[in-house]
């Protein structure tokens, strides 16, 4: 194999792109030479021009993630930094654009004109970091409510029950006298209010702002028009949680739609920055609670990228990677089955398809429970492998009254599940739904997202691929053992609800194909280590630097942007959640359709609010 490889030094496409960028914008673009960092730092004044050049000429047309970092008190000087990860849809690594602004009057040009997909992400950066985006069409808070005081992700902002900057807290040991946070700190001393604030005069600006902007010329108080504004949710059975859409209707047709989110916001990223690196692992379970295994893998990939910057680092063993792929692909199947079930719930097939999906999910969850110890909050991956090997038997012992005991051989269980049970379940779903006339009538041609829009709006996962873009992180920027496995990237071309349904069936079939290849690997590597390096380290040393680890989650590309300053806690921990960013295109998909279709369109995006609101 080696003799075919040319020794001549070739410039990688990324290197070439950066060179061209530097040549074109001399003086405004410089390489990020901080240790452990990559990409280029762009002068804010040239940002829009550079972004347009990167998108159109260099071919990095897909904006994966846009996020801000607060470098308060760091050696290079206090500033906020906006980080954009752009990708070529042909595959390959990211071209990372960065731009810096002082913390005081943080203002940057908006990139919504270049990538509409930056819309929500810039609003998030404004909300949580306090960067104003000049030229943003709708720069309002998105996760916090309008009128919230402060920007929670800034390093000098403190939450209500603030105890200490970083975990582990000193009060826990050796003098750990227990106290409840709410007794200790009622209405926290560290809650800040704007000057002159009194509760008596408080009026929610959030609702006011919402109804002032959305109606597009409709006066809510004045009904002398056939346009009405309807607030759907947050307690609506079809919004998959506490999600709300404010819809402007002309008769029954949608003319404008504004998603309102943040009801489940818990500042996951701030918690992540207080935590140590390993502490974050169980927290990632709670993002997309259907796919905790895949969330774990994405975070492990990100931190392993950071670890690889250091000197001593053992990559995960082959068995560990095989187990990871097994878990992640099973997760994909269970997520897609349940997603189809919920989609059908939304379309009115009350619970029958969902319950059939849940039977299969139950069997997969039984396996997860036996392996990792928990059905949904698996917390199974570690940096360098997995927490435990597969057990010999999936068995239980009766501990409670009325306990019923089961005992299966693990590999036998897996073989039966993968070769027989799950393919049958997928076929059954196909029989039950695909040709059903009610479904075809309601789904075909509804909620269309064109190929161009899908790319521009940074859609990911099944939503992107159903619009005719065969982009899959497992192939585009492979991780784990995916390069060794044979599978196709599913793609459909119409971009409507029906194709988003069909592509989930296709992806499940591909997952079965992958799983069938993983089974023999598991047999072969039986008894080999499932963890590389020294076990039992609850606080591994993570070298300073940045890493963007991404994994193809069932719902789309899940990215973790992790910045380490060499300490035991991440300096910045950002989650690029597919559910959140896929919602950017929701209005685009819904415009012109009937109000009843919104429910189906939302169901076809497949969101989980734990991940949207973070």
């Amino acid at each position: 194999m080696t003799e075919h490889v040319q020794v001549a030094e070739t410039v990688t496409p990324l290197e070439d792109a950066i060179n061209r960028l530097e040549a074109r914008f001399a003086g405004a673009v410089r390489r990020d030479d901080r240790e452990g960092y990559s990409g280029v730092i762009v002068d804010p004044g040239k940002l829009v021009e550079v972004a347009t050049f990167v998108r159109d000429t260099l071919g990095f047309s897909y904006l994966s993630s846009a996020t801000a970092v607060d470098y308060l008190g760091k050696s290079e000087g206090d500033h906020l930094e906006m980080v954009y990860h752009t990708y070529n849809l042909q595959g390959g690594p990211a071209l990372v654009l960065k731009t810096q602004t002082p913390r005081g009057e943080a203002t940057l040009p908006s990139l919504v004109g270049v990538w509409p997909g930056a819309n929500f992400q810039e609003r998030e950066a404004w909300d949580l970091m306090g960067i104003r985006f000049a030229g943003h069409p709708n720069l309002k808070r998105i996760l916090m409510w309008e009128g919230f005081h402060g920007h929670p992700l800034r390093k000098d902002w403190r939450e209500a029950y603030y105890e200490q900057d970083t975990k582990p807290f000193d009060s826990r040991w050796p003098e750990g006298h227990v106290s409840r946070a709410e007794e200790h700190n009622p209405y926290g001393k560290n809650v800040t209010y704007p000057a002159g604030f009194t509760l008596d005069d408080y009026e929610s600006q959030a609702e006011k702002a919402l109804y002032e902007d959305v109606p597009m010329g409709v006066h809510v108080t004045d009904m002398a028009t056939d346009r009405v504004v309807v607030s759907m949710g947050p307690q609506h059975p079809s919004t998959h949680g506490v999600f709300r859409m404010v819809v402007a209707l002309d008769g029954e047709t949608i003319v404008a739609l504004e998603p309102v989110m943040g009801y489940l916001h818990r500042n996951h990223e701030k918690i992540g920055e207080r935590n140590t690196f390993l502490h974050n692992m169980p927290f990632t379970d709670r993002l997309d609670y259907f796919c905790s295994m895949s969330n774990n893998l994405g975070y492990a990939v990100a931190v392993e990228k950071l670890l690889a910057l250091g000197k001593r680092w053992d990559p995960p063993t082959y068995r560990a990677e095989a187990i990871r792929v097994l878990m992640v692909e099973l997760t994909r199947i269970l997520n897609h089955l349940v997603a189809i079930g919920f989609l059908l719930n939304d379309l009115g097939a009350y619970f029958t398809p969902l319950m059939y999906a849940i039977i299969e999910r139950e069997l997969i969850l039984d396996f997860f429970e036996a392996v990792s110890g928990s059905r949904m909050m698996c917390n199974y991956m570690r940096f360098g492998g997995v927490a435990y090997d597969l057990p010999e038997r999936i068995q239980s012992t009766a501990a409670l009254v009325n306990d019923r005991v089961r005992d299966f051989d693990t590999m036998h269980y897996l073989r039966a599940l993968i070769n027989d049970r799950l393919p049958r379940a997928i076929d059954q779903t196909n029989d039950l739904l695909t040709t059903n006339e009610i479904i075809t009538n309601r789904c075909i041609g509804v909620g269309v997202l064109t190929r161009e829009d899908a790319i521009a709006y940074s859609a990911a996962g099944p939503v992107l691929r159903a619009s005719g873009v065969p982009y899959d992180v497992r192939r585009a920027e492979p991780y784990s053992i995916y390069p060794d496995l044979e599978f196709d990237v599913a793609v459909r071309y119409h971009g409507d609800i029906y194709d988003r349904y069909l592509i989930r069936l296709d992806e499940m079939r591909q997952s079965i194909r992958i799983l069938k290849q993983v089974l023999p690997i598991l047999e072969e590597t039986r008894g080999q280590p499932f963890f590389a390096g020294r076990g039992g380290q609850y606080n591994p040393r993570i070298p300073a630097g940045e890493a963007y680890g991404r994994a193809e989650n069932p719902k789309g590309e899940l990215g973790y942007y992790v910045v380490s300053d060499g300490g035991q806690n991440p300096w910045r921990y950002h989650v690029r959640s597919p559910s959140f960013i896929n919602l950017t295109a929701l209005e685009q998909m819904c415009k012109g359709h009937k109000v009843a279709d919104v429910v189906g369109i939302l169901g076809s995006i497949d969101i989980v609010l734990g991940e949207v609101d973070r």
């Binding site: 826990r172 039977i359 429970e369 928990s374 909050m377 089961r406």
Partner: protein
């Protein structure tokens, strides 16, 4: 033909309906699934209904199942140290705990004031505990383990949900009963069924004895 898709789908539900009754006939229409049939009614072979009628029947949890932690203490009929804590109050669980729900007061000798390897107090706020299992995973003494008892409803969260050392402590025998294979694996790694320190102490004594008998002879 228009409508054939709907008929095809209804065929699937009909199949489920019939299968449920076929399985009922097979097990003689017993209201709850009999023990011997349970792996078939809740397993890969199931074709019909898939319901477990909690609380009249419960799915036993697998060995690795993790719920609120408990502290391992020596069996209450242990000959040398009945009910002695395995915990040495090293504080690793408190540091590894992501939501920081573990509070430990390190034990001190009242006479010398120096720390002793056992906790004076040990608290877990189970409202905060996220059942991640890191405490059990990183404990170097196998002294904290994840429990299987998930039925913890109570009437008052302010008083009933902070578990103290007494509430958390369970006999080593209990750990052996809920996780027999893992208890055996850990014992093998330690070199015996006892606590690490006890084994070390015994080894030391045995060596001293051997030395004494050697010099005596």
């Amino acid at each position: 033909m228009y409508g054939s898709g709907i008929v095809r789908g209804l065929g699937v539900t009909l199949k489920h309906f019939v299968n449920t009754y076929l399985e009922d006939i097979r097990w003689g229409f017993r209201r709850h699934v009999p023990d011997e049939a349970f792996p078939l009614r809740q397993g890969l072979e199931t074709r019909g209904i898939f319901t477990v009628e909690y609380p009249d029947e419960k799915i036993a949890t697998p060995e690795r199942f993790r719920f609120i932690p408990f502290l391992v203490v020596d069996n209450y009929d242990h000959p040398e140290r009945p009910g002695h804590d395995w915990c040495t109050s090293c504080g690793i669980c408190a540091k590894a705990c992501p939501p920081q729900c573990i509070w430990i007061v390190r034990g001190t000798n009242p006479e010398t004031g120096r720390p002793v390897p056992e906790p004076a107090e040990f608290y877990i706020d189970i409202d905060i505990c996220m059942n991640c299992g890191f405490c059990a995973e990183f404990c170097p003494f196998d002294a904290i383990k994840m429990d299987h008892d998930y039925e913890l409803a109570s009437y008052d969260r302010t008083s009933a949900h902070i578990f103290n050392k007494q509430r958390l402590s369970k006999e080593f025998r209990y750990w052996q009963s809920i996780a027999p294979t893992r208890a055996a694996e850990e014992a093998q790694a330690r070199g015996g069924w006892e606590h690490k320190d006890v084994l070390k102490q015994r080894e030391k004594e045995a060596r001293a004895q051997a030395k004494a008998s050697e010099s005596g002879s």
